[in-house]
């Protein structure tokens, strides 16, 4: 079994016996009962390389179910790289490789037998610049479910549900066949969110979803995140500290350290804690400096 590094799709031969008995149904939270949510991603000792260049060093964090986790930090410190490694989107970049363990519900995400295509069905992504397909609104949302084999008769319901989740239904319900490119920026981004949740993923990764939008559209999406929090696990990368403080439950603060010898910068996590503590009583001076705007 080879993993084609450039294309990121594993050449998989069929397993002898597919055991679905222990599947985690996507969309349902298998939360532990003690008030602390269960761990979805367990990242430990992770280094990420592009070729010989080490982009991230010694990353350690956990993403908990039904929480919003934010990655903050100055530009170029690997937040997006970290985010994309959670759904194997970095596979698309030639020369990208991961060392260390990224466990998704206990399964090593980078195991050779794991198919990135299936991973991305369960872990959805919303990108910085809205990128709807040049198709109708309906076809945008229905695309993922169609691929996954959702029967035709259920598609209408799936599409409606996704659009409602994205708080877009009322605005588009009468023009589902219209081109998605005719929507405004904020609407397009919500469409991308609808598209992402249409496959009933468990996790939503959002890469600076509001950075291309105006403040009103941004506020709508932040509200949306609160609304859907109890159905999904959300990880968001943001440049906007206030947004992180408003929206997230936990925050990881990234920064770069300069490698003296090679004159490159490698991303590290300075601090990872509940948002409350990060923003009111950070343990590390660097975090404090960033929060208060002394740098970054």
């Amino acid at each position: 079994m080879s993993t084609d590094s450039r294309t990121g799709d594993a050449a998989v031969s069929e397993p002898d016996h597919v055991d679905h008995s222990l599947d985690v149904s996507p969309g349902v939270s298998p939360g532990a009962g003690s008030g602390e949510h269960g761990i979805v991603f367990d990242v430990s000792g992770v280094h990420l390389y592009y070729g010989d260049f080490r982009a991230l060093r010694d990353i350690q964090l956990q993403i908990r179910c039904n929480e919003i986790t934010a990655f903050i930090g100055p530009s170029g410190c690997g937040k997006t790289t970290m985010l994309r490694s959670l759904n194997r989107m970095n596979d698309l970049i030639e020369g990208a490789r991961v060392e260390g363990k990224i466990l998704y519900h206990g399964v090593d995400l980078y195991d050779g037998r794991v198919n990135p295509v299936e991973v991305r069905r369960r872990i959805g992504m919303v990108f910085q610049k809205p990128n709807p397909f040049p198709k109708s609104i309906y076809d945008n949302v229905a695309y993922g479910p169609r691929l996954a084999g959702t029967p035709r008769k259920d598609l209408d319901d799936v599409v409606e549900k996704a659009l409602r989740d994205a708080a877009l239904w009322s605005e588009v319900k009468d023009r589902l066949r219209a081109s998605a490119l005719g929507l405004s920026g904020g609407q397009q981004q919500r469409l991308c969110i609808a598209r992402a949740v249409a496959t009933s993923p468990e996790v939503l990764l959002m890469d600076e979803p509001c950075s291309a939008l105006d403040p009103i559209a941004t506020a709508r999406i932040e509200d949306l995140m609160h609304e859907i929090k109890d159905k999904y696990t959300i990880v968001i990368v943001t440049h906007n500290m206030q947004q992180a403080a408003r929206v997230s439950d936990r925050t990881a603060f990234f920064t770069t350290e300069v490698n003296e010898t090679s004159d490159t910068r490698t991303g590290i996590i300075v601090e990872f804690d509940t948002t409350d503590r990060i923003f009111t009583a950070p343990s590390d001076q660097r975090t404090d400096d960033y929060i208060t705007g002394r740098f970054g």
């Binding site: 450039r6 990121g8 698309l92 959805g124 990108f127 040049p134 695309y143 249409a198």
Partner: protein, 322 residues
């Protein structure tokens, strides 16, 4: 061209006058203007060449085109210019077009898809890339040798009936399809490269396989550009004569090969528009000149129409995409 004298004297008045004069400009920029005109002239001369050529062909061929257009299009190759027609040439050119479309378009587009969407950046890929670019620059007469050796000689029994010695439309069509293949690959590759990466990411992000991303998103987006490239390639193929000569197109007279849909004729001796023109061009006399020019006009009509359509469409799509 006036050169104003610099105001002399001191004091704020004079200084102000000096500045004003400097800004308003003294000398006219002669060399600059001349340069501008020279390069414009270059462009206009190039376009003029095109115009003169078209006008010359039209006027020379006018007697035939206006006088006996129907008979000209319908007639066969004859020894008398006044009775000659290009029908057999049109048949040959038509079938060559069919071969090119059916063979090189799918093959070329598929190869481009591999190079742009699937291939990892290995040495093999780079080698294929360089190889294709070189093939695009190989003279058409060398492709003629390829066609001659492989199709006319080695595969003689496949490409032609016993009497034809392999010098058939099949051989010619195959040869030209190969000639044009690198062009199709290169233009299709460019069209694929122009697809924004955000589109692919969106597809992957929703859990599509690479083939699904290519099939559902990349190809539809790149389709106009790919189409343009293939039309240009086809126009190129229809105008080539050297490979036809090498493969064995008839330069003399030809019996038969004058019906468009006669599949049996594909494995018989043949001719096509470019070789008809070549043959007639070598014959002395005003009457042959007229017939040659008329044939050229017909060929140009096809080729230039295809080219212009492709260019116009490409420009329009580029503008729409922004």
């Amino acid at each position: 061209m006036t050169v104003l004298s610099t105001p002399s004297g001191t004091g704020p008045q004079a200084a102000r006058a000096r500045v004003e004069q400097a800004l308003r400009g003294g000398k006219v920029d002669v060399w600059g203007r001349a340069f501008h005109l020279v390069v414009l002239a270059a462009l206009l001369l190039a376009v003029l060449a095109l115009v003169v050529l078209l006008v010359d062909m039209l006027t020379t061929g006018a007697p035939v085109l206006t006088g006996r257009l129907g008979g000209f299009l319908d007639g066969a190759l004859r020894s008398q210019p006044g009775a000659s027609g290009i029908r057999q040439g049109l048949v040959g050119t038509f079938w060559i077009g069919v071969f090119v479309v059916l063979l090189s378009f799918p093959l070329g587009i598929a190869a481009a898809i591999h190079l742009e969407e699937y291939a990892a950046r290995t040495r093999l890929t780079r080698f294929i890339d360089v190889n294709i670019r070189n093939l695009a620059g190989v003279p058409s007469v060398v492709y003629g040798i390829l066609g001659f050796t492989i199709f006319t000689k080695a595969l003689r029994d496949v490409t032609g009936s016993p009497g034809s010695n392999g010098r058939t439309i099949v051989s010619a069509g195959l040869t030209l399809a190969i000639l044009v293949l690198p062009i199709v690959i290169i233009t299709a590759s460019e069209a694929l490269r122009a697809v924004p990466s955000g589109l692919r990411e969106a597809g992957f992000g929703v859990g599509a396989t690479r083939s699904e991303v290519v099939r559902h998103h990349v190809l539809p987006y790149a389709a106009p550009g790919i189409f343009t490239g293939t039309v240009l390639a086809l126009a190129r193929a229809l105008g080539e004569a050297a490979p036809l000569i090498l493969v064995g197109a008839t330069s003399g007279y030809l019996t038969g090969a004058d019906r468009f849909l006669e599949l049996g004729a594909l494995r018989e001796r043949f001719t096509a528009m470019p070789t008809v023109i070549t043959t007639w061009a070598g014959r002395p006399g005003r009457e042959w000149e007229e017939v040659t020019a008329a044939a050229i006009v017909i060929l140009l009509a096809v080729v230039l129409l295809a080219n212009t359509t492709a260019i116009v469409l490409r420009n329009r799509f580029e503008k729409k995409r922004g």
